[in-house]
């Protein structure tokens, strides 16, 4: 009898459609076509606020992508370092990496944003960071901790025999990691990284409170000036939905292409 405990794997990113999962696949199409259809319908029937809103938010989409991309790059670097630290034999490195993960995971992202933007600036002689930099630092450090766990799990998922084979050929630890383990772990790591990217893109809406002119902020600005609250936030929601759906499709596509050496 199997004694493996039941585990639930729930992520806050958009669901990555799997090729064989018909149900999810059609749910994706329903959401995607639905979102586009509603947007088109609104713009055609009431072009006055809706088309104006749609013309007003693209600047925000660019900022959202800018914040998300910069944050994820920082998170990937921190995640790799943290992941390697977490599996390191060096006790000090291991402890630093683990503590970073524990601390970051225990503090809400919104609080971290406030902390970096407002609290640090309250320290004498520390000048206030620009909003965009604060946003990227806070989100990069926050997601870096999660990414560290993704990297650690990805590295640990590679069979021990791979390390032994590489070491027995004469590769040192670093070469083994770079040439043998990471290229294989990447395949395990990429889908959750894609998922984190999508989750981060959604969380990036939090930076609108730091006066970063992202998608949500642009929607708020429009609503604030015109009082079209319902219309503005409807469009903002639809745009977020379309973006995350497209991205999740992209991740799914990338995932299947990464399996190139597993084809029999």
């Amino acid at each position: 009898m199997s004694t493996t405990p039941l585990s639930l794997d729930v992520s806050d990113g958009a669901a990555i459609p799997r090729k064989k999962d018909r149900g999810l696949f059609s749910a994706w199409w329903l959401s995607f076509i639905g979102a586009l259809a509603i947007t088109a319908f609104l713009c055609i029937t009431r072009p006055d606020p809706y088309l104006r809103i749609l013309a007003f938010v693209p600047d925000g989409i660019l900022v959202t992508f800018q914040v998300t991309t910069l944050s994820i790059l920082l998170a990937l670097v921190l995640g790799l370092i943290t992941g390697l630290g977490r599996i390191s034999r060096n006790r000090a490195l291991n402890l630093i990496a683990s503590t970073y993960v524990e601390v970051i995971r225990g503090i809400p992202l919104l609080v971290q944003l406030f902390y970096i933007y407002y609290a640090l600036a309250a320290i004498p002689y520390v000048s206030k960071l620009p909003p965009l930099a604060s946003a990227v630092i806070a989100m990069g450090f926050c997601y870096g901790a999660y990414m560290g766990e993704v990297f650690r799990a990805g590295i640990e998922s590679i069979d021990k025999g791979q390390t032994e084979a590489a070491r027995s050929l004469g590769f040192n630890r670093r070469q083994t990691m770079l040439l043998v383990i990471l290229p294989q772990a990447w395949r395990t790591i990429l889908p959750p990284v894609g998922n984190e990217f999508i989750a981060l893109l959604k969380d990036s809406s939090l930076v609108s409170i730091l006066a970063v002119a992202d998608l949500l902020r642009r929607g708020r600005e429009f609503a604030g000036e015109t009082f079209f609250y319902f219309e503005a936030y409807t469009i903002v929601a639809l745009v977020y939905l379309v973006i995350t759906l497209v991205l999740s499709k992209g991740v799914s596509h990338m995932e299947s292409r990464l399996n190139y050496y597993d084809r029999h």
Binding site: G161, R167, S168, L169
Partner: protein, 246 residues
């Protein structure tokens, strides 16, 4: 024969796994070109002993010299010594993200600075030798177990090692594929390679071994020529083992 200095010299080696004595004061020396087959029941420490030679397992006591270098000493550059020690694993352990050819050329290019073209032509020669040059550009998962193991042998040979270590190289194979791997190993033995082989293939031991080493419970119980060992073992443990396996 005793005037030739050993290429592998294992002296009073002990190894603990928790409270289990995996190796208990084991000594074994192996001359250049010698073929030593280590046999014994599972859990006898034979794989552990083999893996201490290239330090995939570290010992708790004792010393091991490989080609005059003390691999058990922390001052030795173990990566250098490992380049002279080819190793073949039970589970092949080919690099799945590299083609067959890349599996063979990666280490010579990165570790010995062999030019790529030269490494590739040498690799093709080795693949021809193990009989699968037509698979050079496919990924390992597309090969059968026997083919993968032959590639693994070629990969180890690509570093031009002085010694080859085999850790149960046919144990994970379907019966019809064992022969093709053993053929390659016999060929290698005929060419004069120093070989240390942990195996359950008694036919191979009889045909190739200069010496058979029988281990049980972390110690070497008996060693001798295959004729002697298979026909007239002295110890009861060895007799029992042979009666079970033959």
């Amino acid at each position: 024969m005793t005037d030739i200095s050993p290429i592998i010299d294992i002296r009073n080696v002990s190894k603990l796994f928790g409270s289990l004595r995996a190796l208990n004061n084991v000594s074994l020396s192996i001359r250049p070109s010698e073929k030593v087959v280590i046999i014994g029941p599972s859990g006898s420490g034979k794989s552990t002993l083999l893996r201490t030679i290239n330090q995939l397992e570290q010992v708790d006591q004792g010393t091991i010299l490989v080609d005059g270098q003390e691999v058990t000493s922390p001052d030795t550059d173990i990566n250098k010594v490992r380049m002279e020690l080819g190793m073949v694993f039970q589970s092949f352990n080919l690099f799945p993200h590299k083609t067959v050819l890349e599996n063979l050329t990666m280490a010579p290019i990165k570790l010995k600075n062999v030019p790529k073209l030269e490494a590739e032509s040498r690799a093709m020669g080795l693949l021809k030798k193990v009989g699968i040059q037509e698979k050079a550009h496919v990924y390992p998962t597309m090969l059968s177990g026997g083919q993968q193991q032959r590639v693994a042998i070629a990969r180890a040979l690509a570093m031009q090692p002085k010694i080859m270590l085999f850790d149960e190289p046919t144990s994970a194979l379907d019966p019809e594929m064992i022969g093709e791997v053993l053929d390659v190993m016999v060929k290698l033995a005929r060419e004069g390679m120093t070989m240390v082989v942990v195996t359950h293939e008694m036919g191979f031991a009889r045909e190739v071994a200069d010496r058979v080493v029988f281990m049980d419970a972390g110690t070497i119980i008996e060693e001798g020529t295959p004729e002697h060992f298979f026909t007239a073992p002295r110890h009861d443990r060895a007799k029992l083992f042979l009666s079970q396996i033959l």
